[in-house]
């Protein structure tokens, strides 16, 4: 029994970093009031660029390239929604469509229909002394992103709640006009949050292609960006909450995959499709129960205009 749990935890922690980084990116941007529906597209671009870069340069640099690519797409989002006050959902959806079609086009013209060649395996690190401990040992033996994913949510939480910058970011998501009248730049804060979100989204995509999948496929990230949005909502727009939601979703997925190979009979009773739909159903259920008392930032999605109140 403990072995099963160990295996489940291990594969959860192996798979979760991409989801965590993407969800954190969404939290960062949305807490500052900018809707981040383009997350899936930013992940895709990050994944693609990192995979291509990883073929010619060290993995860590390649991940950096992926992050920059995510930020570049986020910059387009920022340009449209902050500079030109376009509808943030429209801009995000457009980026998703562009990234989807553009990724396919570039992939085909560079590598043909089968995706990129397989990438070198990421190095795995053991935590000394932990490997032999039951269950907790699942923490050991992962690649670097997993460890980062275990730390970053708490760092971001601290940034948002314990620093002047975090206070300002939260304020700009709830009441940008208050921030503007204090002589702070609404656009500047939002730009920072969106670019930071883009870097994190790109990191999520890069980790997905270089460490988790080991390649870029035609459909990468196959909806993971939307699960990350669900995790953000489920985690009530807080970094640690989104992290826990991501862990929960990833654990559910690991459980499903585990069951498929070890106990196919059980899946006759509870089909895989139902399990795959579960994160979304749970998020909907949570929102339904929460009702009007949503924890979304008050000014989320509202373009900032100086003259209006």
């Amino acid at each position: 029994m403990l072995e099963v749990l160990h295996a489940l935890l291990f594969s959860t922690l192996d798979a979760v970093p991409a989801l965590v980084f993407a969800a954190l990116g969404a939290v960062l941007s949305e807490r500052a009031g900018v809707v981040f529906v383009g997350l899936e597209g930013m992940m895709r671009v990050g994944a693609f660029c990192a995979a291509v870069a990883a073929l010619v340069m060290p993995m860590s640099l390649a991940v950096g390239v992926g992050m920059l690519a995510g930020a570049a797409l986020a910059a387009v989002h920022g340009f449209l929604s902050i500079r030109w006050r376009s509808d943030q959902v429209v801009s995000g959806i457009a980026l998703n469509l562009v990234a989807l079609a553009g990724g396919t086009f570039l992939l085909e013209s560079l590598y043909g229909p089968n995706g990129t060649p397989a990438l070198p395996q990421a190095a795995r690190w053991d935590v000394p002394g932990l490997a032999s401990v039951p269950v907790l040992g699942a923490l050991s033996g992962h690649s670097a992103p997993t460890y980062l994913a275990l730390v970053l949510p708490f760092a971001l939480q601290a940034l948002l709640t314990r620093t002047p910058l975090g206070l300002r970011l939260r304020a700009v998501g709830d009441k940008p006009h208050a921030v503007a009248t204090l002589g702070l730049s609404v656009a500047g804060l939002r730009w920072g949050a969106v670019l930071g979100g883009g870097l994190l989204a790109g990191l999520g995509g890069a980790v997905l292609s270089t460490c988790v999948l080991g390649r870029f496929e035609q459909h990468t990230p196959a909806g993971l960006g939307f699960i990350a949005l669900a995790a953000m909502v489920f985690g009530r727009w807080t970094p640690v909450g989104a992290f826990l939601a991501a862990l929960f979703f990833a654990f559910g997925d690991a459980l499903r995959i585990g069951l498929a190979s070890s106990a196919p009979g059980l899946l006759e009773v509870v089909p895989q499709g139902m399990l795959q739909a579960l994160p979304y159903v749970l998020t909907l259920a949570l929102l339904t129960l929460q009702g009007q008392r949503s924890s979304a930032p008050a000014a989320l999605g509202v373009p900032y205009e100086q003259e209006s109140r």
Partner: protein, 575 residues
């Protein structure tokens, strides 16, 4: 909103009031002063030095603080966090909440504010939120404090308290600029008054040497002429000129004579001056050209043709004797948006051919009463009959069917859809009946014809039915609303704040139309925060306080003092 060649200067330790009608440019002027807008031309100097404010940050650095009409507070943060936002104390790079709390507590103590720094702002009353705003400015070392319509949302008690706060600040050597259109209040607290009209400062007078009537004339832009005083913009009246004369306060603090308390002044500011000049061409860039009363003459002509409202009505005999009861209600109770009881048992009657006014301080249930009668808000208890049907279970559609017309308070939110055309707005709410519809289809020809007729009759400018409503000025939008509601020949008309924010010509026009409706036998339920308007128009007045009727007056027995006492709760055992 725009400014054209506006000039203003304030001395240190002075309380300057800036008055003017809505749209006169008061708020624009202050936003320029605070660095939110950049002037196209002109200059600004602080302490004798010319300055350029590119953002509020520059203004704050030069000791200017602003309390906005709509509070600029982040509701989810605490008082302390709101106050220190943008200049947060840190310890090793982290936000030092404890120090923020003690700093804010110190500022509060120094200026005599009682605020709990740890309280979340959305749990505070409006009055306390305003104090947070003031503390926010003072905490940043504001020497010049600008307050934009600060009493609009306050109870009279809170307003009095604010007046004391302002005088206290002036006594400490700070300079206060108070923007208001409440002339009585202004004269009670200011040293000097600047009057703005159409983007210019047209006069500056010492508060001790003027009267409400004179100020009103200056605001409207006419020299003293017969009758204008009484017809001045609604909100400034309610007071006989003699009573509003201020003796003591204004005289006590001569201009720029207050010494600077030691150690408090950092910038050596002795005066603040703003000289404006906008090139003539700039006027055409205004997004919404005002089309009604484009010149002073136009305004006056309208005011006069409007029928010299006050005089006419005060000579009029009470019309309450006859008429069937259109609305009879007893024990009405309803819950407000905040979830607390807003109506706690209201009895009232409205008959055909009378205007019934509801007087009261803002937030005492007037709005909710109007919403109950128009079907927008459900009753929690009580009963009544409205035009032959029960008041319980009323919906807006049923109310309209029975013959209720409604001129709501919040025009842009409730009365019109800005993005629809003028004719579509004229049809809104009546679009199911001829001449606006034929069966399930809209009748474009009938709609156009009726709209053109109404635009003509109500003097809406420009009279273009296809224009998006947003392109009309506020006064013309309101005329469209009144035209639509009266054209439906309502048996009961519910009007809430019908003249707020309108220029004087439009005010007279709207008020004349209400009287006309009464003359044709309609009953009118008039809710207004402007006591003068209520008294001028109504045949009977109910006073509401905390959701109960605390007074009932019938023309001509209007005792303003007694009314005022009732508005503050006298006669209920609550006050």
């Amino acid at each position: 909103m725009s400014l054209e060649d506006a000039s203003l200067d304030v001395s240190e330790g002075e309380l300057l009031a800036v008055v003017g009608e809505n749209g006169a440019g008061k708020t624009s002027l202050m936003n320029v002063l605070y660095g939110l807008y950049q002037p196209d031309a002109g200059e600004l100097s602080v302490g004798g030095q010319p300055v350029r404010f590119k953002s509020p940050r520059d203004a704050i650095a030069r000791g200017i603080g602003m309390v906005h009409q709509h509070f600029m507070l982040v509701p989810t943060l605490t008082v302390a966090e709101n106050v220190v936002l943008g200049r947060e104390p840190t310890r090793r790079g982290l936000f030092d909440l404890e120090r923020a709390i003690s700093e804010v507590a110190a500022t509060c103590a120094r200026f005599g504010f009682q605020l709990e720094p740890r309280a979340r702002v959305d749990t505070l009353t409006v009055g306390s939120q305003q104090k947070v705003e003031i503390v926010k400015a003072l905490h940043r070392g504001a020497q010049v404090l600008v307050l934009d319509e600060p009493t609009a949302v306050l109870t009279p008690q809170e307003s009095d308290e604010l007046a004391q706060v302002m005088r206290g600040l002036v006594a400490q050597g700070r300079t206060v600029v108070l923007i208001s259109h409440k002339l009585k209040e202004v004269l009670g607290v200011a040293d000097r008054v600047a009057v703005m009209r159409r983007g210019r400062v047209v006069a500056e007078v010492r508060a001790a040497e003027t009267t409400v009537g004179q100020l009103a004339n200056l605001m409207v832009g006419e020299g003293p002429r017969h009758g204008t005083e009484a017809r001045a913009p609604t909100s400034l009246a309610g007071l006989s000129p003699a009573a509003s004369r201020v003796e003591a306060i204004g005289a006590a603090l001569p201009e720029a004579a207050v010494p600077i308390p030691g150690g408090q002044v950092t910038t050596g500011m002795s005066a603040l001056a703003l000289m404006g000049g906008v090139p003539p061409g700039a006027a055409t860039e205004r997004p919404v050209p005002s089309s009604e009363g484009t010149g002073p003459t136009g305004t006056v002509a309208l005011a006069i043709t409007g029928g010299t409202p006050l005089e006419a009505s005060s000579e009029r005999a009470p019309a309450t004797s006859a008429g069937e009861a259109l609305l009879e209600a007893s024990g009405l109770q309803a819950v407000g948006d905040n979830g607390r009881p807003a109506l706690r048992g209201v009895d009232l009657t409205v008959r055909a051919g009378e205007i019934v006014g509801i007087a009261g301080v803002d937030g005492n249930g007037q709005r909710e009463l109007a919403e109950v009668v128009t079907g927008l808000r459900a009753l929690t208890s009580g009963s009544g009959t409205l035009l032959g049907g029960p008041l319980a279970g009323l919906t807006p559609a049923k109310a309209r069917e029975r013959g209720v017309g409604h001129v709501p308070e919040d025009r842009l939110r409730r009365a019109v859809v800005k993005a629809l055309s003028v004719e579509e707005n004229v049809a809104l709410g009546r679009h199911t009946r001829p001449p606006f519809a034929r069966g399930p289809w809209l009748d474009f020809a009938g709609r156009r014809e009726r709209t053109l007729a109404l635009l003509e009759a109500y003097d809406v400018r420009p009279p273009d039915p296809t224009l998006p409503l947003a392109r009309l000025s506020g006064g013309n939008q309101q005329k469209v609303v009144v035209a639509r509601e009266l054209d439906a020949k309502p048996r009961l008309l519910v009007v809430v704040q019908p003249t707020r924010g309108l220029d004087i010509g439009a005010v007279a026009h709207v008020q004349a139309k209400l009287r006309e409706a009464r003359a044709h036998g309609a009953g009118v339920l008039l809710v207004s925060l402007d006591l003068e308007e209520v008294l001028a128009l109504s045949d009977r007045v109910y006073v509401l306080f905390e959701g109960r009727v605390t007074g009932h007056f019938t023309r001509p027995d209007y005792d303003e003092r007694e009314l005022g006492r009732r508005m503050l709760g006298a006669g209920t055992g609550h006050a």
